[in-house]
Symmetry: C2
């Protein structure tokens, strides 16, 4: 059942009081009248009605609206807006001016792929928006472009990512000057569409298990690329089925030796492999490519499966930043071990996770906007003989959508923070910031994409039948976004990387070392944790206290610290009997929860900071309210944990629940302004039921159908 499940237990104090009376005698007629009333939704025109008049109803509904915060959308929006809004508007304007480039609702896979290619080439050559330039100079601007094109068609965003972040990024970050000089322009201007050939049929998450080999042939000064078995076929490779001219292929580098084995495995390296003739576009000898076929979504991207049969490439095609092979077959590297080199190689790919976390929240913004606007428009049922009420006035509907809206805001600030961190890292390159960005991007990518995937289902369901019309977009948003949970690192694997990092930091602490910036809080809260929860504050239930960022952040951090400490102890205990692998697996659920808890702590911290730094008073009040909902809803969802360790007493748990529902209701009262502040023009939203001008929605919709 949903999180509302925990409701009953916590209702106890309120109910217990009521229960002391005999339920038989206290069963006054009112609730039974209500039941009869509701039955009458099936029985119209009954002459009995016990309900309040419509006027009274309106007053009640409006009661808390008297407290409504005045939100100036323009102010809030300008605070939210990133610094790269300009280039996003260029993207929007370009596609607005080229209606023939817009993706229709129904399009075959092959047509979609061609359209997607035309969109990308148009963007680069006609609109002269050059993403590759920004990959190098200003990654934040590149991410802004990726988000904007994603709202045009998510396939386009992924194709752009394959070209510039994956294929282009591998050349830039894993290669050296000679590679940049040779490939930069062709990648930039789309003359050299390329692929990123890492994943194989049998190995996705476990990159070290890749089996494609690149054997150096000293006689010809070439590498020979081979697919040794079916499991090693490169699979899901974007741009491969139709458009790619090149691929950066990840393969085990094999060097000839003079011992009996004959070759030495130097680990996974990346190689530039031409796959199609630049002029004729025919497949090159030894390269076999098949179409991976229809996918759940993103059918504008041409994923292919590649098999290599003794494909020869010049030695220069090894992307040699972290390791090189000399003419005579000697290996050289600035890094001491295979594992360091492998880590450095994969470390360069972290940008993909940053852009996914960021873009995933872009998708969530669009979906939440459509669902909330429609829920404000749609009316269904109401007090008998009175006008129907808007469905967002139902508690259950607020429960579905308002914590989601709060999360969207929370993720907005957290992912912007990640982008900043990433840009800083690219500038300074210092090791601590590399580790920090690695774990933060893994955690946010996993957490945000899982949340968005769940939310897209909720949005569709919350919009009922009209949410099922393709034109209202939940289907394509969901299908396209779905794989965000898997590519650039499976979410379950990424969360384990966060857990590993936390455990490392924990170990450091007890060895007296310093913690990375994002983990600094652990040092303090760890000490707090080792003492018992404060029996006085665990009873505090005042609204001021519950809305105090210190209480909220302490609660989040306390949970993370406790999880960290307890899982470390469990790992230690189980290692003795199960060994390291068995112990890790035995604690896996616990470890994943730890990682999520940490990420939630970081998100809340960024949100609180954003509230603090907001210059406009009205906007700040609104953001504070939304931040409270984010924090309280998360605490309430996990109330079992807090109760079990007596971090909150029963009365406090009840107060948290009541306040969460109340804040949910207050956020509902500014919900329209909050989604308007995302500043997504109707051209981007597109769904007839989610447009900015209320009232026009239904007529847009009937027109769409042909009335």
């Amino acid at each position: 059942m949903a999180s509302r499940t925990q409701n009953p237990g916590i209702q106890t104090p309120e109910n217990d009081q009521e229960n002391q009376q005999n339920p038989v005698t206290t069963l006054a007629t009112t609730p039974w009248r209500r039941i009869e009333r509701l039955s009458l939704h099936l029985n119209p025109f009954s002459s009995n009605h016990y309900d309040l008049s419509h006027q009274q109803m309106k007053m009640l509904i409006c009661a808390a609206r008297a407290k409504k915060i005045e939100v100036k959308v323009v102010e809030l929006s300008s605070f939210m807006r990133g610094k790269h809004r300009d280039i996003q508007e260029q993207v929007f304007d370009y596609f607005k001016s080229r209606p023939e480039l817009q993706t229709p609702l129904e399009i075959s896979k092959d047509e979609h792929r061609e359209l997607c290619m035309r969109q990308l080439v148009g963007l680069v050559r006609e609109a002269n928006i050059r993403p590759f330039k920004y990959v190098v100079e200003d990654p934040a601007k590149y991410f802004a472009i990726a988000e904007a094109v994603g709202s045009v068609d998510m396939s386009l965003a992924i194709k752009l990512g394959v070209q510039y972040s994956l294929w282009g990024g591998s050349v830039l970050n894993l290669g050296t000057k000679k590679h940049r000089d040779k490939y930069f322009d062709g990648i930039d201007n789309m003359e050299y569409p390329g692929c990123f050939a890492m994943t194989e049929l049998h190995h996705g998450s476990n990159v070290q298990g890749l089996q494609t080999v690149a054997t150096f042939d000293p006689l010809t000064d070439e590498f020979i690329i081979n697919t040794p078995n079916d499991g090693a076929i490169k699979w899901w490779i974007g741009n491969a089925a139709v458009h790619g001219k090149f691929a950066s292929v990840f393969a085990r580098l094999m060097l000839p030796t003079h011992d009996t084995k004959g070759v030495s495995d130097m680990g996974v390296h990346a190689f530039i492999v031409p796959i199609r003739d630049l002029r004729t576009h025919k497949l090159l000898p030894g390269v076999e490519i098949h179409d991976c076929g229809h996918k759940v979504g993103l059918n504008g991207v041409d994923n292919g499966a590649l098999r290599f049969r003794s494909v020869r490439i010049p030695r220069d095609n090894l992307l040699n930043r972290f390791g090189d092979v000399s003419r005579d077959g000697k290996y050289t590297s600035s890094l001491p071990s295979i594992s360091k080199r492998f880590g450095a190689t994969l470390g360069e790919l972290v940008g993909g996770r940053v852009v996914l976390a960021y873009s995933s929240n872009g998708v969530l913004k669009i979906a939440a906007t459509i669902a909330i606007r429609y829920s404000l428009l749609r009316q269904q049922f109401g007090p008998p003989k009175q006008p129907e009420i808007t469905i967002l006035d139902y508690q259950s509907h607020q429960h579905k959508l308002m914590p989601m809206l709060a999360s969207t805001y929370a993720f907005h600030f957290a992912t912007l923070h990640l982008v900043d961190k990433y840009c800083e890292m690219k500038k300074t390159g210092d090791e601590e910031s590399v580790g920090d960005v690695h774990a933060l991007s893994a955690g946010l990518k996993a957490y945000v994409t899982s949340y968005t995937a769940k939310s897209l289902n909720i949005c569709r369901e919350a919009c009922g039948g009209h949410g099922y019309a393709a034109v209202n977009r939940f289907g394509s948003l969901r299908n396209d976004h779905d794989i965000f949970q898997t590519f650039e690192g499976d979410n379950t694997v990424l969360l384990q990387q966060v857990a590993i990092d936390l455990l490392k930091q924990y170990k450091e602490k007890f060895r007296g070392g310093s913690l990375a910036v994002t983990w600094n809080y652990l040092k303090e809260s760890m000490n707090t944790y080792l003492s018992q929860p404060n029996p006085v504050t665990s009873r505090w239930e005042g609204e001021d206290h519950l809305r105090d960022p210190k209480f909220q952040l302490d609660a989040f951090r306390y949970r993370t610290s406790r999880l960290l400490q307890s899982v470390a102890a469990r790992l230690q205990k189980h290692s003795k009997t199960l060994g390291g692998f068995g112990a890790w697996n035995r604690c896996l659920n616990h470890l994943l929860t730890l990682a999520e808890s940490h990420i939630e702590s970081v998100i809340l911290e960024r949100f609180i900071e954003a509230v603090r730094s907001c210059p406009d008073e009205g906007s700040r009040s609104a953001l504070k309210l939304v931040c409270d909902l984010y924090a309280l809803d998360r605490i309430w969802n996990d109330i079992g944990t807090y109760r079990n360790v007596d971090y909150v007493a029963p009365n406090k748990a009840k107060a948290i629940h009541k306040l969460t529902e109340y804040v949910c209701f207050q956020v509902r009262n500014i919900a329209r302004e909050l989604v308007d502040a995302f500043d997504l023009p109707d051209y981007v939203i597109r769904a007839p039921i989610g447009l900015q001008t209320p009232g026009e929605a239904y007529s847009q919709y009937t027109q769409h159908v042909g009335f």
Copy 2:
């Protein structure tokens, strides 16, 4: 966060013991080695490895397998199989013999609609499977057909449902002999494809708000059907856009009066309206139909939007079972009020919910089978320098899929029970059984379809990239099934009907009346509830106790009873200040939780009964294990509630958690047999990664792509 979130708190007792030692001194090297080990997944070929040997590993993994229950798939399968397997096999055989009728992965909307029509006509005329016969004679057989065709293409199942259950059902159940005589054969043999025109653009859930009117014209002895405004356009009407010849149109019956108003509104009635010429298939005068267009799924069904402009139909076309109009415009009915007639009319449509609950679990079976078989095949990571392990051996993966498998079994028995109840009701027609089936079908439809919708996402995600290939089906299953949550009654609305019913029953009890069969348990447990939880049993933590069906069922029923009692008290309290409507809305989350809790109680009860009645010992043991997982997982998910009222003490909560994880692991060990027992032939499963013969999956997949 997921339900595993609650883990940490409950881990406390175990951890507290460990915590009494100084964490700095007790941080032995083992867990840290594990962390280093896991980091090495990014750093292969390190020479350090602390892990157990592969042999030790295997022994550990196999340890609990020693206890593995011997499941004979044939025995279990024959117990599970319904009595109408024969006709399902006829369906499968027919479509297997007609490959040109199979729906390809990529197909345009218009082609899909035509194909779907050919599939249906072929089934009826060629295979001579006549669903309409069974709608009348043996609904259980009809449901079995619907489930089987759903596994061919869900669009076909829905088109079949529109024709026979909705259009045909309305003629049979709301009409009288004259209608049956005139329409039965044409509906049966598909000469009269028809629509069920209830939903309007502005009104879906609120059927009483429908605005289409049917005004009697005594001069011509006709009704005049009119769409008074855009909001009253009939929307989402299946079979309307292309194939329908007739529609049963729900409209307010207006009779002329001699007062100043001129007409009297007799409430919503159903009318047979011809919409297309039987010979030319042209739209009839006054009927305007537009295509509702592309949908998220089910694009083989031609949903349309209909507007009526003074469409005249003979008086005989009123479906007059519950109310009739005489030649001189007088209204007669065997039922005393508009509300009774409306209730009786809608009550006849309950079969649609039965079939959706049943078919939804059919979808879940297919998805769970594919996901579990693939998770047994797929290997990723493992102890260093050892073969990789199957991903279903990871605790996190078991956590995703095993409770889902248990739920699939649970729903199987619950929905079969519902089918039996429904058939019984259709035979006897007694009022108590009508009410029982009404609430049970509403609750199971809502609960099962919501659960399946969530599970489809989990299945796709659990299968990673290969789950994203369209050929592996999660995309189409999810897109087609999604609307199950909305049509035939929005789930949130249906759960409220269950809550209403429970509150009515509760009221009855205190007035001394008898409870409907399904609710009988409330009588007993209500009394138990009014006393405090037993402080002795709340501490019992032995495995025998936790696996005792009595403990499990008591816990479920206690929760329902408590929720019922507490929400009744809250409704009463809030009614005083908020009125009935406001109080209901104020308690809405609580009411929905109550309804879900009740449905879970009913499901568990049916499962326990099925275990008891299973004749084969091995199958019974397996079912008992699965039933334990279903029960314990649900209790653990809601542990906050139980803890808060001290129904379980901390030690017991911890024991429940440990046992749940252990049972989850045990179920994993018979997971293959459990999905095999669903008895879904590879022809039905179709997904290359989910076929019955292990090992063939990857080669099926590479062949599919063209290698």
